[in-house]
Amino acid sequence: MGNNLIVQEILFPLTSQLFNIYNENIGKTFISFCREGGKTMNQELPFDFSKFQFPKIEMKVIRGIVAGIIIFILIFSSVFTVNPEEVGVILRFGRYVRTANPGMNFKLPFGIEQVTKVPVERQLKVEFGFRTEAQRDRSKFSTRAYQQESLMLTGDLNASEVEWIVQYRIADPYKFLFKVRATTLTFRDMNEALMREVVGDRSVNEVLTVGRVEIANTVSKKLQQLCDEYETGIKVDQVVLQDVNPPDSVKPAFNEVNEAQQEREKMINQARSEYNQVIPKARGTAARTIEEAKGYAIERVNQARGEAHKFSAVFKEYSKAPDVTRQRIYLETMNEILPKVGRKLITDEKTTGILPLFQLTKEGEKKEGGK
C-alpha cells in the first residue's frame, strides 16, 4: 500500500521531470548526432541505431522478439490480483475510476491505469505509550521510550500514564487515500489529542480506577466523529485502555494508599472477629441464666403448691380431731428427735439442784456429767 502511494506520489512527477531532462540534454545530443553522422556517438550513447543492421538477424525474428516483449509487458501490466482482505483502487492517469474487488482483475496496461491495494477488511492497530516488539510467541512490550505519549494531565491537574490501543479498519479507501495526507500519522495525532481531552476532564481517581471503560468508550465515540469530520475513511472498532498508572515516582504512594486501605479492612475485621468471639457466647450464657431462672421459678411454685396441698390435706384431717392429732404429731416428733439429741436434761419442778438429775443420762455420759 505504502509502495503504491510512493509510486503515485513520486513516479508521475518524476516521469514528467525525466522528460524535461530528456528535452534539455538528450535532445541536444541528438542534434549533434545528426550533424556528425553518428560516428562519434558510438561509444557514448547506450544504444546505437547503426548496430541494428550489422548482426545479420532477420527482421522476422526481431519483430517476433519485439512483439513477444510487448505482449509480455501487456499481460503483466494489465492483470493483477486483489487479496481477499483488500480492494484495489484503480486510477487512470491519476484519476480515480473504479474499485476492484478481491480476485483476478484487469486494467489498462503500460501504466495508463494504476492500482493501489487497500486492506479494507484487515483490522489494524495502533499503540500508544508502548510498542509490541515481538509477535512471534509472546509479545514483549517496551514502554520507556514512549512515556511522552502516555503521560498526561488529569482534570485535577495530576499526572497519569495512560497506555491504550485502537483497533480500526479502513472503511472508505477513497477517502483514506485521497482526502488526507499521512492518514495514519494524523490518526495518531487525533488519538493523542482526544485521549488527553477526555482524561483532562476526569479526576486521577476516575482515570486509574472506576472510569476506565467509560473513558475508552467516550474516546472511541469522539474519535469516530473526528475521523468522519476529517474524512479519513477510518472506522474505529475499539479503543482499549491498557496499563493506566500513576507516574513511576508517585506509584509507591498510590500503593501505600492501597496498603492502608487493606490495613483498615484488616483492623476492622479483627475487631469484628473479636466481637463475634465474645458476643454470641455471652448471648448463650445469658439465655442459660434466664432458663435457669425459669427452672427455679417452676421448682419454687411447684414446691409451694405441693407443700400447700400437703398442708391442706393434713389440716383437713387435723380439723376432725385436733387434740389427738396434735398430740400424735408432737409425740412423733419427739420420738424422732429425742434419740438424736446427745444430752438431755429433764428437771422436776421439785428438784432444786441440777446435779442429781445427771444420773438420768446414759452410762457414758454419767461420768462426764458427774464431773
Binding site: 484519476r95 494531565l153 474524512e231 496498603e259 465474645v278 455471652a282 441464666t289 416428733t333
Partner: protein, 320 residues
C-alpha cells in the same frame, strides 16, 4: 542503399522522438491528490486544475506546478509556555489545513515549506497566547462536569478538584482557529482544526506536582489507617456495650422470673396456711415440729421439765 536507409531511419527516429518529447512535455497527469497551477515564464496562466486525470499545456514554455489537494498536517513545536496561573507547561499542538486557493498559495508562500514557516509563526504564536492568557485548568478541562474523586479527597482543601472553568479546552482551541483562520485565508490556506496534542508540566514543575501527589496520597493513606483504628475501636466498644447489655439483661430477666415465682409461691402458701385461725395455729405447730427435727443434733443439750407435756408421765402416769 544502406547509408540512405540510415539517414531516413535516423530522420524518422528524430521526428518520432521530438514528437514524443513535445507530447510528453505538454501532457501531464494530475493525481487525485493533487492540484495544478500552470505558469508561463513564472506567471500563472488560467484557472487552477483540480480535476484529476490527464491534462495538457504548452510544451517547454509552460510549467505545471503541483500542489497537494488533500488535508495536510501541521505539527507544532513543543513549546514551553507559562500559563496565567504561572505554571510552566509544554504544549504540543497539531493542526489540519489544506491548500484552499492554490493560486494565492503559490503567489504568497510558493510551496509547502514556505507554508510551514508561516503556519509555525501564526499558530505557535496564537497557541502561546491562548495558553498564557488562561489558567492551566482551562486548557485541560473541557466541561464543568463534576469530577468523581475518592471521597477522602474532597475533604482535602487545596486539592485542585472541581475548579470552575469558564472556557475549557474546546473553546480555547476554537479561539485559536478563529484568530488564525483569517490570517491564513490570505495565504490561500484553509485551517480546519487545531488541537492540543500534549500538555505536560515542564520537568521542574513535574517534580513538584509529583511531590504534591505523593503527599496527597500519604494523607489519604493516613486517613485510611486512622479510619481503620477508629472503626476497630468502635467495634470493640460495641462489643463491651453489647456484652454488658446482654449480661445485665439476662440477670434482670432471671431476677424478675425468680421474683415472680417467689411471689406466686408466697401466695400459694398464704392461701393454704391462712384459711382460718386454726389453720394458722396448726401451721405454726407443724412448722415448729419440723424445725425441731432439723435444729436439734447430737451435740445439743436438751433441758426439759417434767412439767411439760412430754415428760409429765415420767413421774406421774396420770399426768396430774
Amino acid at each position: 542503399m544502406n547509408r540512405m536507409n540510415y539517414k531516413i531511419l535516423g530522420g524518422l527516429a528524430i521526428l518520432v522522438i521530438v514528437g514524443l518529447i513535445l507530447l510528453f512535455s505538454s501532457a501531464f497527469v494530475v493525481n487525485e491528490t493533487e492540484q495544478v497551477i500552470i505558469t508561463q515564464f513564472g506567471k500563472p496562466v488560467g484557472k487552477p486544475i483540480v480535476e484529476a486525470g490527464i491534462h495538457f499545456k504548452l510544451p517547454i514554455i509552460q510549467i505545471a506546478n503541483f500542489f497537494e489537494k488533500r488535508f495536510l498536517a501541521w505539527d507544532g513545536d513543543p513549546n514551553q509556555i507559562p500559563t496565567k496561573d504561572k505554571r510552566f507547561v509544554w504544549v504540543d499542538s497539531y493542526a489540519r489545513w489544506r491548500i484552499h486557493d492554490p493560486l494565492l498559495f503559490f503567489q504568497r508562500v510558493r510551496d509547502e515549506r514556505g507554508a510551514k514557516t508561516r503556519l509555525d509563526d501564526i499558530l505557535d504564536g496564537l497557541t502561546r497566547n491562548a495558553i498564557a492568557n488562561h489558567n492551566l485548568v482551562e486548557s485541560i478541562r473541557s466541561t464543568n462536569r463534576k469530577l468523581e474523586a475518592s471521597e477522602e479527597l474532597e475533604e482535602i482543601q487545596d486539592s485542585e478538584i472541581n475548579l470552575r472553568i469558564d472556557l475549557g479546552r474546546e473553546k480555547i482551541t476554537r479561539m485559536i482557529i478563529e484568530a488564525a483562520a483569517p490570517r491564513l485565508q490570505v495565504l490561500g490556506i484553509e485551517l480546519l482544526d487545531i488541537r492540543f496534542k500534549r500538555i505536560n508540566y515542564v520537568e521542574e514543575v513535574q517534580k513538584k506536582i509529583y511531590e504534591r501527589m505523593i503527599s496527597e496520597r500519604k494523607r489519604i493513606a493516613d486517613k485510611f489507617r486512622s479510619e481503620g483504628q477508629g472503626e476497630a475501636a468502635k467495634i470493640l466498644g460495641d462489643k463491651e456495650r453489647d456484652l454488658k447489655k446482654i449480661e445485665s439483661d439476662a440477670y434482670r430477666q432471671a431476677q424478675e422470673i425468680k421474683g415472680k415465682a417467689d411471689a406466686e409461691a408466697t401466695t400459694i402458701y398464704a392461701q393454704a396456711y391462712n384459711q382460718s385461725a386454726e389453720s394458722r395455729a396448726f401451721y405454726q405447730f407443724l412448722k415448729t415440729m419440723d424445725t425441731y427435727k432439723t435444729t436439734l443434733s447430737e451435740k445439743d443439750w436438751l433441758v426439759l421439765s417434767t412439767k411439760g407435756d412430754f415428760f409429765k408421765f415420767l413421774q406421774n402416769p396420770s399426768g396430774q
